[in-house]
């Protein structure tokens, strides 16, 4: 585990969501299967550097995604493409916050990607260190984060794979 990297997730997410007035609280020991399943979004973005590579995932229900993106727009999101766009930007902002907090590592961000589907789960990676967190915002909806960090040239392929049932 890298406490510097994993400790950056919460303040970075708070800062990202705070840009459009959404405050969150971290939930300790959440039941991770209690909210997802019907229609979810996963936003994923890579952070790459000389000393570490990492991937940040955000998993939210469609309802939570729409609420977050409505806060960004100041109006309801009118379609899934806009919701995906907004979620990707949240991942970008949060990853940017992590990067800023790890300045000496000189990380670079990839472009965010977003998938939508039923019963999405974030698969683990045996060679990656990872940390999962859940944050609740005012309406009671939640955003799950998973940050995975890999030593260079050890984990080559599928740590960012999401196991999806009926992904769209």
């Amino acid at each position: 585990m890298d406490p510097e990297l994993f400790g950056a997730v919460e303040p970075a997410l708070r800062e990202a969501l705070g840009m459009f007035g959404v405050e969150v609280e971290r939930i300790v020991s959440p039941d991770r299967d209690d909210v997802h399943g019907a229609n979810d979004f996963i936003a994923t973005i890579a952070l790459q550097g000389e000393s570490m590579d990492a991937v940040l995932h955000l998993l939210v229900t469609a309802t939570a995604a729409e609420e977050l993106v409505a806060s960004m727009l100041g109006a309801p999101s009118t379609n899934d493409a806009t919701t995906s766009d907004g979620l990707g930007e949240i991942a970008n902002l949060a990853a940017g916050g992590i990067k800023t907090r790890l300045e000496p590592h000189n990380l670079s961000l990839g472009l965010p990607s977003v998938i939508q589907g039923r019963s999405l789960r974030l698969a683990g990676c045996v060679t990656c260190a990872s940390q999962a967190d859940r944050f609740r915002f005012a309406s009671g909806l939640v955003v799950d984060t998973v940050l995975q960090m890999k030593p260079h040239k050890v984990c080559s392929s599928n740590h960012e794979r999401a196991r999806a049932g009926g992904a769209q």
Binding site: E15, A16, G18, M19, F20, V69, M72, L73, G74, T82, D85, G86, G88, E89, N92, L93, A95, G96, G97, K99, T100, E103, N106, S108, L109, G110, L111
Partner: protein
């Protein structure tokens, strides 16, 4: 003032527009989804360009280089998560005039604009 906002996220372009209004910056807004599309907007003579760094097709750094090759002196503020000193130096060497780090507040955006566009 005419401001060209260059970002591949339409939601972020919308947020920047709202931040400009909240920060008291009154402007006619032009938009482009990447550097290539932004170059096509240059003949519309923006007074300021707010440009993301990481974009598909043509990224912000390449856009700034191409813009300067065209002889444009329009101020460019990079609005980006790429805030490392080495990145700032790289962008300034390419011709960018300043940085606004994402996430930002409307006041921070307005303040940076005042730095590069005289009232």
């Amino acid at each position: 003032m005419k401001i060209l906002i260059v970002d591949d996220s339409a939601v972020m372009r919308n947020m920047i527009k709202r931040a400009l209004a909240s920060g008291g910056v009154q402007a006619e807004i032009l938009e482009a989804g990447d550097g290539q599309l932004a170059l096509a907007q240059v003949p519309n003579d923006p007074d300021l360009i707010l440009c993301d760094w990481n974009m598909p097709n043509m990224d912000g750094l390449t856009f700034v280089r191409e813009l300067r090759k065209l002889g444009s002196t329009t101020p460019v503020l990079m609005v980006t998560t790429e805030t490392h000193f080495s990145k700032q130096t790289e962008a300034k060497n390419a011709g960018a005039n300043g940085f606004v780090a994402k996430p930002f507040t409307p006041d921070q955006l307005a303040s940076q604009i005042k730095e590069v566009v005289p009232a």
